[in-house]
């Protein structure tokens, strides 16, 4: 069984998609992308000076009025001083800026992927309803993750949403650091205020998908230790495996990993995601340049602590979906065949309690 632990479906990216309005949604996207290096539409030149914000003022206040919008062919576009700019957030093949469940199921069939976990990142919208319908239509294909307002996660309303989605068949919760910060909340992931929320996650038997907690591994470890019955999976689209604070992966010595990450991964209920999207921005398929970064993790922890995810359809900016699987399956041959099977599906099947032949069905 092959399980893709990092998959996206979404309606048109220019819509409100669960935000109060299209305008609010676009403001959020503009803020997130304010430091992207766009291209000037008329000639494709890469522009380095700020075009989305004033370059001085942080937050929404610093954003410029530039008619930021979702265009077509994978692009977000905006206008400033008579010029149109764009950033290719997705591949041009995302013609209508939409990845509906049928389309993404066809991608899975083409590549030979059995099950996909739908990550519920706020950048795509607040998509609990959209996911619920996809899970209902494709119970063997998709596993849904729940989106709540992280900064208010301990409040009754958010916990009620957690319960509602669990009853609809969602199997995990997607908890993002960026959502906390966007809401002005500087709490760490293990902040005691979130206790009631994590208690319910545990009680409902949900998996926790953690996103973006790169500089607080000790806090993630605290949370994981506090809730040993909650499988916790940290997504890793962080441009490679964590090596911040060191600047490189040591090749010398007996110990190669940071101690905080070693302690985190040593916990029985923690997994890391491996995703090729981080590599494609820098390197050409099959991404063997990243082997020195991942190999120390593998050699220390073996194949049981990692799961594979693609980040489709974003991935197609850099390679095909099949290549996004094959780089690991056919080219990272320092990983044993047994461990490849675990990483590509076996571990996720255990985390989500998937039965052979039943796909994503509980």
């Amino acid at each position: 069984m092959i399980v893709d632990c990092h998959y996206h479906i979404f309606p048109f990216l220019g819509g409100a998609s669960g935000y109060e309005s299209v305008e609010q949604r676009m403001k959020v996207m503009q803020l997130v992308m304010k430091n992207a290096q766009p291209r000037r539409k008329r000639d494709g030149a890469i522009v380095v000076e700020p075009t989305l914000w004033d370059g001085r003022t942080s937050g929404f206040e610093g954003l410029l009025e530039v008619n930021f919008r979702a265009g077509k062919y994978g692009r977000y576009e905006w206008d400033k001083d008579g010029e149109t700019y764009y950033t290719e957030g997705f591949p041009p093949s995302l013609q209508n800026m939409e990845a509906d469940p049928d389309y993404m199921a066809a991608q899975m069939e083409f590549t030979g992927v059995d099950v996909a976990v739908l990550q519920n990142d706020y950048l795509y919208g607040h998509l609990n309803e959209y996911f619920a319908e996809a899970i209902r239509r494709y119970p063997e294909r998709y596993i849904g993750t729940i989106k709540i307002k992280e900064a208010e996660a301990y409040e009754d309303r958010q916990i009620a949403e957690l319960h509602r989605c669990a009853e609809l068949g969602f199997r995990a919760v997607f908890f993002q650091r960026a959502s906390l910060r966007l809401a002005g909340c500087d709490a760490r992931v293990d902040d005691p205020r979130f206790g009631p929320f994590w208690d319910e996650v545990q009680r409902l038997g949900l998996v926790a998908y953690l996103h973006g907690f790169f500089d607080e591994w000790k806090h993630v470890a605290n949370l994981a230790a506090r809730y040993p019955d909650v499988p916790m999976l940290h997504t890793i689209p962080n441009w490679n495996f964590p090596r911040e604070g060191i600047g490189r992966m040591p090749r010398e010595g007996r110990v190669h990993l940071r101690q905080d990450i070693r302690e985190l991964l040593a916990l029985p209920n923690v997994w890391f995601e491996i995703t090729p999207i981080a590599y494609g921005a820098l390197y050409d398929f099959p991404y063997t340049e990243l082997i020195p970064t991942f190999r120390p993790y593998y050699e220390e922890f073996g194949g049981t602590k990692f799961v594979w995810g693609s980040d489709m359809p974003n991935l197609e900016r850099w390679c095909t979906y099949l290549q996004g699987l094959n780089y690991l399956r056919y080219h990272w041959n320092f990983i044993s065949e047994v461990d490849k099977r675990l990483i590509l599906g076996g571990n996720a099947a255990r985390i989500f309690k998937l039965a052979p032949g039943d796909g994503a069905k509980p």
């Binding site: 591949p91 041009p92 013609q95 389309y103 290549q323």
Partner: protein, 338 residues
């Protein structure tokens, strides 16, 4: 300048495609596929022949697929990447792809299966000046007739840069009457007079191609890179006919990655044995590059479709690579640097 000599734009394939009806268009698509047939309910690969005359609901509507039912069972062919969600390749979509990959100009091939798109090609050239060169389509078996020649003249006047000539349009694909039969002289004379180039498609009869190319030295021709097994031993490694053809000044061979993607994984080093003897014996001045987008995305990205050549065929000299990726085509098409 980077020139893609093998690009497709087309209206949604579910439509008429410029033919008189959807049924006519589907008739060109039905059974004309290069990917495997799969049973929809479980994805099983079906290897038995399809009884196409009994298929009455053939459609090309979504997700890169041709779909149909037969005896209550649904089947499909994933002929394009699933990302071709609406089965359309509009000029704007292709320009976005070209911008993303860094391609300057595309030569629009005009294959029968997609449709008859003179209007679409004309609009694309007008709306995106400098980005597209359209190849016009004639009805090949009667291409010498006055109404066909009148079309040729009209379309050349609209800015089409050449003729897409398909051997597959002839009932007898072995005969190649276009090469020697004097009946076709009015066509080639008109092509020569109008200054058009010719893309010869769908034949590996290099003897026929050689005779035609030799007879019309003022016309520039393109055709697909010869395939098959080339000798690894000996001083000469490519067949004499191909050597002779390649020695003529008015022929270019298109290197296209899509045929490699069927069998191999990017960066297609397995195909160096095919490209290298031709390059070493004929030189960089005889080759050009084409992608076959958007079909290519079944196997690799557009950028990879260039990089397999640009970054991984290290045996090609830098100046020759510039010729192959655009210089030769620019000369043939009369392009100037942007």
């Amino acid at each position: 300048v980077i020139v893609d000599c093998h690009m497709h734009i087309f209206a949604p394939l579910s439509g008429t495609g410029g033919y008189d009806s959807v049924a006519t268009h589907m008739g060109y698509l039905k059974g004309n596929h290069s990917m495997v047939v799969r049973r929809e309910r479980d994805g099983a690969v079906i290897d038995r022949p399809i009884d196409w005359p009994r298929v009455t609901d053939f459609r090309a509507e979504r997700l890169g697929r041709y779909e149909w039912t037969l005896d209550g069972e649904a089947y499909y062919v994933q002929q394009f990447s699933p990302s071709l969600q609406t089965m359309e390749s509009s000029p704007e979509f292709v320009v976005a792809q070209m911008d993303h990959a860094g391609v300057d100009v595309s030569l629009l091939q005009h294959d029968t299966m997609y449709g008859r798109f003179h209007d679409l090609f004309g609009q694309a050239m007008e709306k995106h000046p400098g980005r597209f060169v359209g190849l016009l389509k004639v009805e090949e078996p009667r291409a010498y007739q006055p109404e066909q020649l009148a079309d040729l003249e009209r379309l050349a006047g609209l800015g089409f840069g050449g003729v897409f000539f398909q051997n597959g349009s002839f009932a007898d694909r072995e005969a190649c009457p276009w090469a020697d039969d004097a009946t076709f002289d009015p066509l080639w004379s008109a092509v020569r007079r109008l200054g058009l180039m010719v893309y010869l498609h769908g034949t590996t009869n290099y003897g026929a191609i050689l005779r035609l190319v030799r007879r019309y030295p003022e016309i520039n021709f393109m055709t697909l890179l010869p395939g098959g097994r080339f000798a690894r031993e000996g001083q000469r490694r490519i067949p004499e006919t191909i050597r002779e053809l390649g020695s003529l000044p008015n022929i270019l061979f298109e290197i296209c990655p899509i045929s490699y993607g069927f069998q191999f994984e990017y960066p297609y080093r397995e195909m160096h044995h095919q490209i290298r003897p031709l390059y070493e014996e004929l030189g960089g001045g005889k080759l050009c590059w084409g992608s076959d987008m958007p079909n290519l995305e079944r196997f690799c990205t557009y950028l990879q479709g260039i990089d397999f050549l640009r970054r991984h065929c290290e045996f090609i000299a830098r100046e020759d690579m510039a010729l192959i990726l655009g210089g030769n085509a620019a000369r043939v098409l009369g392009l100037r640097a942007r």
